[in-house]
Symmetry: D2
Subunit: 141 residues, 4 copies
Amino acid sequence: MSTPFHTSRLVEFSDTDMAGIMHFSAFFRYMEAAEHELLRSLGFSVYSEIDGMAISFPRVAASCQYHSPTRCEEVLDIDVTVHRVGTKSVTYEFQFSHDGRDVATGEMTSVCCRVEHGQPPVSIAIPDSVADKLRQLAAAS
Amino acid sequence: MSTPFHTSRLVEFSDTDMAGIMHFSAFFRYMEAAEHELLRSLGFSVYSEIDGMAISFPRVAASCQYHSPTRCEEVLDIDVTVHRVGTKSVTYEFQFSHDGRDVATGEMTSVCCRVEHGQPPVSIAIPDSVADKLRQLAAAS
Amino acid sequence: MSTPFHTSRLVEFSDTDMAGIMHFSAFFRYMEAAEHELLRSLGFSVYSEIDGMAISFPRVAASCQYHSPTRCEEVLDIDVTVHRVGTKSVTYEFQFSHDGRDVATGEMTSVCCRVEHGQPPVSIAIPDSVADKLRQLAAAS
Amino acid sequence: MSTPFHTSRLVEFSDTDMAGIMHFSAFFRYMEAAEHELLRSLGFSVYSEIDGMAISFPRVAASCQYHSPTRCEEVLDIDVTVHRVGTKSVTYEFQFSHDGRDVATGEMTSVCCRVEHGQPPVSIAIPDSVADKLRQLAAAS
């Protein structure tokens, strides 16, 4: 079984807490960075201009379950699966591991939005050019 | 309907992102700070010495659902409910709002652990003195 | 000797690192929050509309010297001095202490800028209404 | 002129703020990560066991001067110079640039300390094995 997207990341000192392990909130920043790296691998960006509109993907839900602690300078393997591509939203799953040990699993749902500065984001259908590539990743999961 | 614990917090500039709103990961730090404030209100602390043991509550699960964006210098009302007190774990629910507008809801489950430096945390039964007070809060929810 | 502006802040768990103390970078976020609280006390905000322009104060320099470590749940006293008010910039000094013990001293220089979205900030003279109040604080230092 | 140590890093979304640029405090985390990468390149680590003692390098001073803003997904070049190696401390200089444009310069002084859990760090002479390699980097600057 392969996952459609893989990245890795070294746990940094500033992401640890006084319990000596990576702080639970840092996993969410790592998930977001992996999501953006996946989007870049598809030729998109955090903020894209598509069909003449500024498009972004703010989150509507995020969750993480912690299975074992991870420490400073450990390299985390992060496998990203595109779980579901809806008309307006996409759900990713994240598997964190270190040296084959399960560290955490997470999930994030992002909604495609037209973004104008100073205005609340307005949800829109994911442009076909983006949705097609995300669905290919979902099919490969 | 009252909630058993309430706190509030100003959204700081450093918690915003380039979309002009509070970053989704900051909600998890705000939840943790509210959990710790609740523990202090019961006479406990992040790291307590109870019955001669160092006790802490690392998280096993955390989630958040985002309903509307919040901006710099808005004051967030945070209502905390003790949802479930198990033998070893406690689950909190968090309701974020601003001026009566629903901003986000979150949940965290923390497990009572004996903590020794350099060792992985070992889960233990919540000491009665702590569990009793948490159950009183749960009953008031 | 009094300082013109004082605030205080509890060191949070998420601001600690694996050395068991507050991470050195967190002092800079605390300084910024204190600066913004000072600006609010003068009737301004992080982003103000003054004389029909959006005004902000990005930093050109920041520094901190660390004298003793501070730990989770300690309350830091933060004394802010307006050290110098120039035509376009203002320099603040920050003294962090806990229970009378010297923890750290910091300095930040912020430049008054006109901010338009998507454009680089353009430095401008601090509007008189702001500069007058900052100079009063500087004189009181 | 070469610098003795170079690394690079992509500016992440979570490091930006509502002004649309990388938050000034994030530079300090980037400096620390570069310092630790330099130490690893010398065969050391954030927390080393040397001559039977746990050794770490807490900071006593940090500063940064900001020359031009940097934005999400820009790759920062970070050149690190070992400026001065004293008996107990080492001072690093950091040059941040993007595509040849000067972004920021920073400086950090770290003190060699023996670290025991629950005790304040105690400054000690940098072990010869570490100091020799740092001095070689300083000479190459």
